[in-house]
Structures are given as C-alpha cells and as structure tokens.
C-alpha cells in the first residue's frame, strides 16, 4: 500500500508543478466553455438549454487532453520499466495512476463548473446538478481513457490514436451524464435512473480499466 500511495503522491506532485497536466486541462475546459456563447450568440434560452451538454463536452475533451501523457511520460523517462518490474501488481499501479490523474485533472474540472455555469446562464441548482453528474462521471472517463493511453504508449504520436480509441468508449458516459443533468434541470424524466447508470459506468470502469491497461502495457513492452 505504501508503494501505491507513493505513486499517487508523486503523480499528483508532478501534475501540480509548473508544466504539469492539471492546469492545462482546466484552462482548456475554460477556453471551450467561454468560446461557446460567442459562437452561439446571445440567446440566453438556447445557452441554458445547451449548457449541460457544453460543460460535459468540455470536460470530456479536457480529460482526453491530459490522459495522453498518463503512461507516455513514464515510458519516455524509463519509470514505466521500474513500475512493471516492481512488486506492486501492475493492475493496482495502473489504478493508482488513474486515481492520481482524476484527482489532479478531473476534480479541478468539477470545481470550475459552478463558475463556468454562470457564463452559460445556468442557475445555481442546474450548475449543482451538472457538477454532481461530472463528479459521478469523470472517473469513468479517466478509467476508460486509461485503456487507450496504455495502448498508445509505445506509439509515437499516439495522442491522435488515443482520441480515436477513447471517444467511442466515452459516448455512453456523455449520453447519461447529459441526460441526468437535463433531467435535474428541466424534468420531466427522473434524475435517478441516468445518474445511477452513470455511477455504474464509473464503477465498471474502475474494475475493467486497470486490468485492461495493465494487460496492454505488459503486451506492448519492448
């Protein structure tokens, strides 16, 4: 356990230092959401209706942007070899890296959501609903994205491949995330069902993601 805690602490430190991934994700999220009102025009009702979808798309793309380096950075500097060789099971090491990534890159997105909700004419309750669905759904984005990051680790310019691999897997998360948000804001459908499925996707990702990523890392070693 100390090994995994050490791995999480190191990844968090690296992400929060200058040049780390945490700030880049939030800035990208901010940029996407800020640009939307300019593109759509000053139609407050339209903004309000599209708000949850815009926030979710922004969060999806921002998390994809930072996932790219999840394993590549460790592969490039040789850390990945030592992590694979270590006594800590590779599956748990992958899970630890995903947790660190979510804490560093996912949580800031959720924290930024209330501020960005203002720009999209969302009231307090609606913003809270979107933040809640992001809290439940972004772990699923990280865990599914991790599989793509592990597949792309040995490839040069794997970033584009990552997007192609991961975006289809993220579609269910996007659908149920936006559905739950809209249900909370406008009704008439219940909030519970899509939100439960969103939580289920995150839990399934928690189980499948690390195992799949570890298998892919082992296979891809050279």
């Amino acid at each position: 356990m100390t090994a995994l805690a050490a791995l999480i602490r190191r990844d968090l430190r690296v992400a929060l230092r200058v040049g780390g991934g945490a700030l880049i994700g939030v800035l990208f999220f901010l940029t996407v959401v800020v640009l939307m009102p300019f593109a759509l025009g000053p139609d407050l009702a339209l903004l309000k209706r599209l708000g949850p979808a815009i926030l979710w798309l922004g969060a999806l793309l921002a998390s994809l942007l930072t996932l790219d380096r999840l394993f590549t950075a460790d592969h490039d500097d040789g850390s990945l070899d030592l992590i694979v060789m270590s006594r800590a099971p590779l599956e748990l090491a992958c899970a630890a890296k995903a947790v660190a990534h979510w804490l560093a890159a996912g949580v800031p997105l959720i924290v930024a959501t209330p501020v960005l909700g203002l720009l999209l004419n969302l009231d307090g309750q609606a913003t809270l609903a979107v933040a809640l669905t992001l809290l439940a759904g972004t772990p699923a984005l990280t865990f599914t994205g991790m599989i793509g990051a592990a597949l792309a680790v040995t490839l040069h310019r794997g970033g584009l491949l990552l997007a192609v691999l991961v975006l289809p897997l993220s579609i269910p998360v996007l659908i149920f995330g936006v559905a739950a948000s809209n249900a909370a804001i406008a009704g008439p459908d219940g909030f519970g069902a899509p939100f439960s499925i969103l939580c289920a996707l995150s839990l399934a990702g928690l189980v499948i993601g690390p195992v799949a990523a570890a298998a892919s890392l082992r296979h891809g070693l050279d």
Binding site: T2, A3, V14, R17, D81, L82, M85, S86
Partner: protein, 217 residues
C-alpha cells in the same frame, strides 16, 4: 577481463547456493533473432560483464532477466532464493533512461523510488550522501547534468536493497571520480553476496566474468 576473485564472507541471508541461471535463451525481436541458445550462470558475489558489438543483444538480455521482455525459448531463474518471487522483483534495473521526473527535486525523486520499491533500512539521505548529491538535494532533477542524473539513479540502488543489479552501460556519462565511486558501490554490493549483470563496453573497475554475445566485438 580476469575471472571473479571475490570470495569474502557472505551474508547469512544469501548463501553461496544463491545463483542466477539462464538456460538456452533465445530472444526474438521484431521477427529477427537477436541471439539463440544463450546460457550463463552467476553465483552470489560475482559480476558478469555482458559484451558484444552494437545490436548484439546486451540490453535485450538485461530486459529478459528483468522480465521486461519474454524469451522466445529458455528460462531464467534465481536458485536458492529465500522467496519465490521472479528475478524481476529481486532486481534493480539501471537502464539508458534514468527514471527521474524533472519537475521533482533530487530528494523527492529518490524518496519516491525508495517508498515505491519498498526500501527498508538505508534512508534516502544516506544514499544521496553516498553518491555525493546531498548538497543539491533540493534542486529540481531537471537541472542536473547527465552524470548527476546517473548518480541519482545509483542512489536508488543503494537506498533499496535488491540482490540482483541489472546495469545497462552504467558508467556512461560518469566522470572519473564517479566511475571510481560506482566501482566502490558495486564492490560493496558483491561483498554482501549480491549479483551484478552489466552490459558494458568500458571496464567497470571491478573483477568480472565476461559473457560475449554474438561473436567478436
């Protein structure tokens, strides 16, 4: 190179029966056979220098022992090991790349590997002092020279105890004093009953046996 001449008393933990043995190893990478039917045996307290021309498979052999590559045929075992774990988990791997995060300080980098690899007694500060980096412990690793990064990697070997050291060109980028220091560290390790497999072109400054891969260098 002369045969191994180190016969100091061994630790109780690692008896003379502690051996690293590779049998009939074949390595195929990218559809090309790198080497075939390679065998070696290394007892506690011995160092093996793996030599050969560029591309002969020196690094591949180290990665096979470290479990980072799968042999197409053959086996590698640590005989007489106190626990059943595979050689990879009892080995340190010092590769071409130094496994350091430029954004973290020298001390943070070492403390991470110490905690992650499960170091027991030697505290990281002592290891940093042993490789002569204690005066720049607070400096981000990104500012280190290539030789200093190598020294920081060496500190990892000292901070966490593993019986088997896999070294890939360990003395590259080291200055004369650094090479002498590393020779001392390796001698200490062998005296405690450790094993060293090093891929190298340059003399390591310690007594080694030689394993030549792929004909004349």
């Amino acid at each position: 190179m002369q045969p191994a001449a180190i016969t100091e008393s061994r630790n109780v933990m690692e008896s003379a029966a502690f051996r690293l043995v590779g049998r009939a190893l074949t390595c195929i990478r990218g559809g090309r056979e790198i080497f075939a039917d390679l065998g070696f045996s290394l007892s506690a307290g011995e160092a093996l220098a793996v030599t050969g021309r560029n591309g002969a498979g020196k690094t591949s052999l180290l990665r096979l022992i470290g479990g980072l590559l799968k042999p197409a045929a053959g086996t590698i075992v640590l005989e007489g090991s106190p626990d059943e774990s595979p050689p990879a988990e009892q080995a340190h791997y010092l590769g071409h790349r130094d496994a350091l995060k430029p954004a973290l300080s020298v001390a943070e980098n070492l403390r991470f590997w110490h905690a992650f690899l499960g170091g027991e007694r030697d505290s990281p500060p002592a290891a940093l002092a042993a490789v002569g980096l204690d005066h720049i412990a607070h400096l981000p690793a990104g500012y280190l020279s290539a030789g200093q990064k190598r020294r920081l990697s060496m500190a990892r070997l000292v901070a966490v105890r593993r019986p088997l050291w896999l070294l890939d060109e360990p003395t590259s980028a080291l200055d004369t004093a650094g090479q002498a220091l590393f020779a001392t560290l390796m001698t200490d390790h062998l005296a405690k009953g450790g094993l060293i497999v090093a891929a190298t072109h340059a003399p390591l400054g310690i007594a080694t046996r030689e394993l030549r891969i792929g004909g004349a260098a």
